[in-house]
């Protein structure tokens, strides 16, 4: 089942001499439950692609369909609603709200939607991510790895159709990075989620079901991997 479909995406920054084509005619499809890793060198356009796919940065041309809905044909308000309900984001710099506790940060997308959180589900997420004894802590009381685990929890809270992760382990040491990714993968399986992840790390990319390589804004390789 197609969760994400991108058609002929083009993203151009600047004009004339300063013109930069960040994404150049990219089309791709992601199916439910897939774990897709996007890899490429710095400046290759992978973050831009992720932001376009996630509905936060409009492409110059092309369209993005999440769950069959054309994201950029929607007005800002509706696009916000779509993001909060169908998309989860995990950033390299965690981006937690410093004023909210761990639990409150996780529940945030639900709160924005005016939904009452399903406590059992939230507890399960917290448990899965190993944050039971950190529920009432503020982000500045957590380690980097713990903060990223909260960010994962937040991305899962609303049972989104797809999660986008922008180098989620980039700010973590190797041990913590793998631990976080392990938890992320475990969570995906447990909660049957789809993940599109950007990474530099080959080993992390190898954990994905599919690896898309990007160079100069173009897909140069789309490899489906078979895991034992």
């Amino acid at each position: 089942m197609e969760i994400l479909k991108a058609e002929h995406l083009l993203k151009v920054y600047g004009e004339n001499e300063t013109k930069v084509v960040a994404v150049n005619d990219i089309s791709l499809t992601v199916h439910k439950g897939e774990f897709v890793a996007i890899v490429g060198a710095s400046g290759s356009g992978k973050s831009t692609l992720l932001h376009i796919l996630g509905g936060v940065d409009a492409p110059t041309k092309g369209k993005v369909l999440i769950d069959g809905e054309d994201v950029y044909s929607l007005k800002d308000e509706k696009r916000s609603i779509l993001r909060r309900r169908k998309v989860g984001f995990i950033f390299q710099e965690y981006n937690l709200l410093p004023i909210l506790t761990v639990e409150e940060n996780i529940k945030m997308p639900l709160s924005l939607d005016g939904k009452k959180p399903e406590e059992a589900y939230i507890n399960e997420i917290i448990q899965t991510l190993g944050l039971e004894d950190r529920r009432t802590h503020l982000p500045n009381q957590l380690s980097g790895g713990q903060q990223q685990r909260v960010a994962i929890g937040r991305a899962l809270a609303n049972r989104p159709s797809i999660i986008f992760a922008d180098e989620p382990t980039g700010n973590l040491d190797k041990k913590n990075g793998y631990e976080v990714l392990g938890l992320l993968k475990k969570s995906l399986q447990k909660f049957s989620q789809t993940l599109v992840l950007i990474t530099h790390d080959v080993e992390i990319a190898n954990m994905a079901d599919r690896i898309i390589r990007i160079e100069d804004g173009k897909i140069i390789q789309d490899e489906v991997r078979a895991h034992d």
Partner: protein
């Protein structure tokens, strides 16, 4: 569950210092506007209330109403305050035949009397034929009259009615004598219509055929509080319709005329303008606070947008923050204002005459109106932040680098050589940092300049005004009070003087006598225009007791004055033909012909009396009189005594005591002494003291408002410094990494604030002095020799105050980082 409200609250709690500073600005604005509004409307209603007391609480009166009409009025439910039948005539009252003009007011009933008065002795008339006399007359009637005595009144001289409904004409030949029972003495507030020379008589029951002036009101209990009066249009129309219906002439008490609605509205308009002015200031501060909050939370908002928060939701967070701060600020401001006003009124009443009649205005329109304005100001302060939220791009917000990019280009081109020379490298950096956002720098400096200009300008005007009040002849006169002495107490001159001397702060006690005479200028034989000086002040001094300085002698010599000799004070005055007449060309040895001063206008009845020989011509008036525009003749006590005897008068009747009271003198003790001896006490310093007190009060209020506005502005400065720190956090870290010490960093930040202040102080002082000089030039039109004074204290105060505020703001802004 977390929602926008909770998020807003959490944000407010997170940044306690900023929240508190914004809360402080809102509460302070509320305080300034509410207290000022209350002072404006309080003074407005107090003056109206005082007028209500003076003018009576009736809405109108109907003239010439007969009994049938009065009865119909009562049946309509109209409340009749009083039925009056008044007359006014010249006459003599009392045993000693004291002559004067007085009005007789006949009233049916004193229970719902439409005018304010206090019974100082006895009671109000209760039976027909009882009379209540203004206490002013007590002095003339003397001690021989007691309550319950019969008082004889001889009516004469004017063609007016002498009792209710009597049409007879009373002339000199046709005088009427009536007797009344003295029921009591009353006192009225200043400027009241029944202040002087009026007696009030209990009238006989309503008589058939009589007509009355009927005072009416629509309220059962009468109107006691002008503030509670609403619907002036209806009240005036109501009274006029009644008049029309009964065919009677209506006179509406001006306090209840339609125009009063407009006056009240104007009062509120004034409050509104002031509120908008202060609100404008507050809005800038609040706006800056919110903008900084948004700058600070750009990343948070960006993340929220990424995970699906709509712009509306983000705006809502800012809105709820504003609402929470607004409500809390208003409540705090209101409570503090109430406490402040309560304390000021309670404590100040005893010390400041201005507050004696002050009313604490608690009208919903004022309270809710001001709350609404302040709340709108808070929302207005939210406009720019909301615009920024709308422009917020989630990705840029996450990267939080937009502002940094924008700044790069500007900084390159600006250098601060002069500042660098004066304040070193920190000064140079401070200057460059300020030039990054030139608009903000200019706005901050300009607001400081405006504040300093107003502060110094108004204080220069106040210093000058205070000097005017202390001008020689007003505040520093050798004599500034007088007691009109009775003949019976002149016998106890020594003990009176002793008692007066025992009162602290009294000096220069001098007994003298005075009366008015006419001087025929022709008798000087030096004026050819034949102008007759109508009235002249003849002053007799107990010789040797009034210290005439030799310097004040223009011609002749001072020394012992014999009967028939006098000094003439050189004094110009306006005569009837509006020409300036001077008797300065009087020579020593000239003779001045006096005429007896009588009330009749017919000059042929003037009696020529003694001549006086001029012994000396003086330059200045005795007793530092500044109010007399007549030439003054000075003679000895014996000379005056002889003059009075010649006319069959008793010289003791004209006795006066002049003396000087200093600032510490308790005037109530002098009044007690005056009451004891039945003397009239005139305190010439009273007006000057009141004026000085009002001036001090006005200066205090203006300065307090300017200082409070400066405090609101300091929140702005604090916010600016804090936002600078937040925006330049990375730069700060770099500077610290490459070797900038904490001290250097602090100096740089301090200089950023101080550069604005230094410029503002230089420009503001110059403009403020120019502004003050402008006011001086307008005021100097009234003749005086005072020079423009530079308000040094205010300049120092502005400098120290502004520096202190800046240092505190800079330090406060730095600390959190």
């Amino acid at each position: 569950m977390i929602n926008e409200r909770k998020l807003a609250f959490k944000y407010l709690c997170k940044k306690k210092r900023r929240s508190l500073s914004t809360l402080f600005a809102i509460a302070l604005s509320m305080f300034i506007v509410f207290v000022s509004g209350n002072l404006i409307m309080g003074a407005f209603y107090a003056s109206k209330q005082a007028e209500l007391i003076r003018n009576g609480n009736h809405i109108a009166y109907l003239e010439e109403m007969n009994l049938e009409q009065i009865s119909a009025l009562e049946k309509e439910g109209v409340v009749l305050c009083a039925l009056e039948n008044s007359t006014y005539f010249m006459g003599k009252m009392g045993m000693e035949d004291h002559e004067g003009s007085f009005g007789f007011y006949y009233f049916e009933d004193f229970s719902n009397f439409p005018f304010y008065y206090e019974v100082v002795q006895g009671k109000t008339p209760e039976k027909p034929g009882e009379i209540m006399i203004n206490e002013m007359w007590k002095y003339f009637l003397g001690e021989d009259y007691e309550i319950g005595d019969t008082i004889t009144v001889q009516l004469t001289g004017m063609e007016l009615k002498t009792e209710p409904n009597q049409e007879s004409v009373v002339t000199e030949e046709n005088s009427i004598t009536r007797t009344y029972t003295l029921a009591g003495y009353y006192r009225c507030p200043e400027y009241s219509w029944i202040e002087d020379g009026v007696v009030m008589v209990k009238d006989e029951p309503r008589k058939e055929g009589n007509t009355y002036r009927v005072y009416i009101t629509s309220e059962e209990e009468g109107i006691e509080d002008i503030e509670s009066v609403e619907g002036f249009e209806e009240k005036e129309d109501w009274a006029r319709n009644l008049g029309e219906k009964y065919g009677a002439k209506v006179e509406v008490n001006w306090l209840f005329e339609k125009s009063q609605s407009e006056e009240t509205a104007m009062g509120y308009c004034l409050v509104l303008i002031f509120a908008v002015f202060i609100g404008g200031f507050a809005a800038i501060v609040i706006r800056n606070s919110f903008v900084i909050s948004i700058v600070e939370r750009t990343r948070d908002y960006g993340m929220l947008r990424c995970i699906g928060a709509s712009k509306r939701q983000i705006r809502k967070i800012a809105f709820y923050e504003a609402v929470m701060l607004g409500i809390a600020g208003e409540v705090i401001g209101l409570i503090v204002s109430y406490l402040f006003l309560y304390l000021v009124i309670q404590i100040g009443k005893e010390h400041i005459s201005f507050l004696e009649e002050f009313k604490f205005v608690q009208r919903p329109v004022l309270i809710f109106g001001i709350c609404l304005i302040v709340f709108l100001v808070v929302l207005f302060g939210l406009l720019e932040p909301t615009r920024q939220i709308n422009k917020l791009n989630p990705l840029n917000a996450l990267r939080n680098q937009k502002d940094v990019k924008k700044e790069k280009f500007r900084v390159k081109r600006r250098r601060g050589f002069l500042v660098a020379k004066l304040f070193g490298v920190e000064g140079e950096y401070a200057y460059k940092n300020l030039m990054r956002n030139r608009k903000r720098f200019i706005t901050t400096t300009a607001s400081c300049v405006v504040g300093v200009t107003f502060f110094i300008g108004t204080n220069a005007a106040f210093v000058y005004s205070e000097q005017m009040l202390e001008e020689p002849g007003i505040a520093y006169a050798d004599y500034n009070a007088e007691l009109y002495v009775h003949s019976w107490c002149m016998d106890s001159e020594d003990s009176l003087k002793e008692e007066l001397e025992s009162i602290k702060g009294i000096s220069n006690i001098t007994f003298c006598y005075q009366e008015f005479y006419r001087i025929d200028n022709e008798s000087l034989k030096r004026k050819e225009d034949g102008v007759v000086v109508k009235t002249n002040y003849v002053l007799a001094l107990d010789e040797g007791k009034y210290p005439i300085e030799k310097e004040s002698v223009e011609k002749g010599e001072i020394g012992e004055l014999k009967p028939g000799e006098c000094y003439v004070i050189n004094w110009g005055y306006d005569d009837e033909k509006k020409e300036i007449v001077e008797i300065s060309d009087v020579s020593v040895g000239d003779k001045i012909q006096l005429h007896e001063l009588i009330l009749a206008e017919d000059e042929s009845t003037e009696k020529t009396i003694s001549e006086l020989k001029v012994k000396a011509v003086l330059k200045e008036q005795p007793f530092a009189n500044t109010y007399s525009y007549y030439p003054v003749l000075v003679m000895s006590k014996e000379g005056f005594q002889a003059l009075c005897e010649e006319q069959g008068m008793s010289y003791e009747e004209y006795g006066k005591i002049h003396f000087k009271m200093d600032k510490n003198c308790d005037t109530s003790k002098v009044q007690e002494l005056a009451d004891k001896y039945g003397m009239l006490f005139f305190d010439e310093m009273k007006d000057a003291r009141e004026a000085a007190e009002q001036m001090k009060m006005a200066r205090l209020v203006v300065n307090a408002i300017l200082i409070l506005v400066a405090l609101i502005s300091s929140v702005n400065l604090f916010n600016s410094m804090e936002s600078n720190n937040i925006l330049r956090e990375k730069e700060r870290k770099i500077m610290r990494t490459v070797g900038m010490s904490k001290k250097q960093y602090r100096k740089m930040i301090l200089l950023e604030g101080m550069l604005s202040v230094i410029i503002a102080l230089i420009l503001g002082t110059a403009l403020g002095l120019a502004f003050g000089y402008g006011i001086y030039n307008i005021m100097v039109l009234t003749e005086n020799e005072l020079k423009f004074a530079v308000p040094v204290e205010s300049i120092v105060f502005a400098g120290v105050g502004l520096t202190l505020l800046t240092v505190l703001s800079c330090m406060g802004g730095m600390k959190e980082e």
